[in-house]
Symmetry: C2
Subunit: 199 residues, 2 copies
């Protein structure tokens, strides 16, 4: 065995995290050992705390350390506008923009027939319950433009077609600052479809 046992364990732990290979894990583990003992103790305690305290918000499914997340319990947010996202990571991204004043609904996955993930496997029925209770609900479906994302978007649109609810999706198009000639044809095609009149 090349590594001392506890270093090996640390490397193996880091390798479980996304995007971390053997070499990065080794580098991170050695860097960890260089941190002051107080920071290591804090990290050790916090790992358990995070795992034990964080759970999905009972309303929107976003990760939180309360029963109801700060967004859902914020009286200044418009509860009638629900932005539907795949995961909590996307909520953080939206919150960093800081412009959206509605609330969220985190699906925790996307419908995927090929992977056997059906609508009942994701956090969808609670979305319908939420919509039912609102007077003028508006849904913004902000799911990625893969087959799974499109399937989920279409499914949500379908089950809500008899309800009084405004449904939109994010626009497709050229990312800001990107060169047109470097764009793939599907994106260009979508950007053409979604073109906006210049007023």
């Amino acid at each position: 065995m090349i590594y001392p046992k506890s270093l090996e364990n640390l490397i193996e732990f880091y390798k479980k995290l996304p995007g971390i290979g053997e070499k990065s894990a080794e580098r991170m583990a050695l860097a960890t050992l260089d941190l002051p003992i107080e920071q290591i103790e804090d990290a050790s305690t916090n790992l358990l705390e995070a795992k034990n305290n964080l759970k999905p918000c009972k309303i929107c499914g976003h990760i939180t350390d309360k029963d109801i997340c700060p967004i859902c319990s914020d009286d200044d947010r418009n509860k009638n506008i629900i932005c539907v996202l795949e995961d909590s990571k996307s909520v953080f991204t939206f919150e960093k923009i800081g412009n959206f004043k509605g609330v969220y609904h985190v699906l925790g996955g996307l419908i995927s027939p090929t992977e056997g993930i059906g609508y009942e496997d994701i956090n969808l029925s609670s979305l319908l319950d939420r919509v039912e209770k609102l007077e003028h609900p508006e849904l913004i479906l902000a799911l990625k433009s893969t087959i799974e994302g499109e399937t989920t978007t279409l499914f949500i649109k379908k089950i809500l077609e008899n309800k009084e609810v405004i449904i939109s999706r994010l626009s497709y198009g050229i990312p800001m600052g990107a060169d047109i000639d470097y764009m793939d044809t599907i994106t260009l095609d979508k950007a053409l479809d979604d073109r906006k009149q210049i007023s």
Copy 2:
């Protein structure tokens, strides 16, 4: 605050590690929460264990959970051949090759006049002590080809010039499989200097 406190702490911890930015740290922290509780408990315990148990080998300075590392205490290794390396990471890399049957000496840094790191700040005097005790010592200096690496190499060569010791350095040259026309001129120049006759 966008993140729940314990998630924020976890993200801040990961951001202290090399090569981990905001976005990766966030992704890693969320992935951490998806790990089973047993793995989190193990990681939490192991973090402290690693920090408390791992220390430099009393002979070579390589990181170990014993007083003397397994390499220095291995009777099958040739104690007369010492490969001098900057850090423990390099020892692991050499051990993965598996061909080197000598022992190591980890400097834990390189001499750097610009950063004010002198020979007394790195693990050098113990190297001289080791060399003194050997009958036919051979040193392989495997330090990187930066100013700091070269300075350290030259310094070691200098202080040992009156001793009976064979000193070599790794060869410089073209990395295996690399295109000649993509090589920088300094490397090419070194490869020319270090050229080997084909026998």
